[in-house]
């Protein structure tokens, strides 16, 4: 494990570089194949509406995968993430158009822990709504 960020160089409140991740229907089809999650709410609009959703929604695990990229890109070595948890609070609705949806992710150091570890709190938004709650990672720094 070789994080490129030094523990001594971060403070509580240090912001990680924010990123935005576009999601289209094609993204979801590809993710379904790669992850093996073929639940039709992630690709079949008719089915999604029938079960009470506004439209096709992104896999929660897709959003979780995107959100941690802000942390792994910052840390350099993805293995620096020793703990990662989220609550799925709102779905990311993905319309069938050229735009799709956008997941906007920001993160900041919330606490300095023992053993050169920090807790990073992550905020993930889509269409102005928080789509993840209690989204936190523990990261082991250099």
């Amino acid at each position: 494990m070789t994080a490129k960020i030094a523990y001594d160089e971060v403070e509580v409140g240090t912001e990680l570089p924010a990123q935005s991740f576009p999601v289209t229907r094609a993204t979801l089809v590809r993710y379904a194949g790669a992850s093996g999650d073929f639940n039709p709410i992630h690709w079949n609009e008719k089915f999604a509406v029938e079960v009470g959703l506004p439209d096709v929604i992104a896999h929660g695990m897709f959003t979780m995968a995107e959100a941690i990229r802000v942390v792994t890109d910052w840390a350099g070595d993805p293995a620096a993430v020793v703990e990662y948890g989220v609550r799925f609070t709102k779905p990311v609705v993905v319309p069938n158009d050229d735009q799709g949806a956008l997941i906007e992710v920001s993160a900041k150091v919330a606490a300095k822990l023992d053993d050169r570890r920090v807790r990073v709190d992550i905020t993930a938004m889509s269409a102005g709504q928080k789509v993840l709650g209690m989204s936190r990672a523990v990261v082991e720094l250099a």
Binding site: S35, M61, A65, P78, Y84, G85, F88, M134
Partner: protein
């Protein structure tokens, strides 16, 4: 109908080993649009101190969730999967998942709660490699929504 509390603490037998393929890791990394070379380039992974390419942090969910199927589809438990949504997800890592790993999952029902007619099920999946070393633990909270009018 509320789930049977006596299932709390029940552990299911370890799954047959899942072999982590480097091309499966690449496929997953491409699907999430993540170009981090640690996922696809052995030399880049080695430069970070890993013996082979590693998987993105959430990759292992496909394996632990499949293993959780033993719980979800347990006819004795009687969960209505058509009403289930994913509530929370958490991972703690001893080390990253790597290409070539042969991973086995042991699933345990950690908690069963009933809240406003919803059944809430917490499943813990302990992931070990072929040598028995702990790799990652996954906690999955599933919420089975109460039927309308119930």
């Amino acid at each position: 109908m509320a789930l049977d509390q006596s299932f709390v603490g029940r552990t299911y037998p370890p799954t047959a080993a899942y072999e982590v393929g480097r091309e499966k890791i690449r496929e997953f990394a491409e699907a999430i649009g993540d170009a981090n070379p640690a996922y696809t380039d052995t030399d880049a992974a080695k430069a970070l101190g890993h013996s082979d390419v590693i998987a993105p942090p959430t990759f292992v969910f496909a394996i632990t969730f499949k293993a959780a199927g033993a719980v979800i589809e347990d006819p004795q438990l009687g969960l209505d999967y058509s009403r289930v949504v994913h509530g929370d997800q958490k991972f703690t890592y001893t080390r990253p998942v790597r290409a070539g790993d042969r991973l086995s999952v042991t699933s345990t029902i950690e908690a069963i709660k009933s809240l406003a007619g919803n059944d809430i099920l917490d499943i813990r999946g302990e992931v070990h490699d072929a040598s028995g070393e702990h790799v990652v633990t996954a906690w999955t909270k599933l919420v089975s929504r109460a039927p309308e009018g119930a």
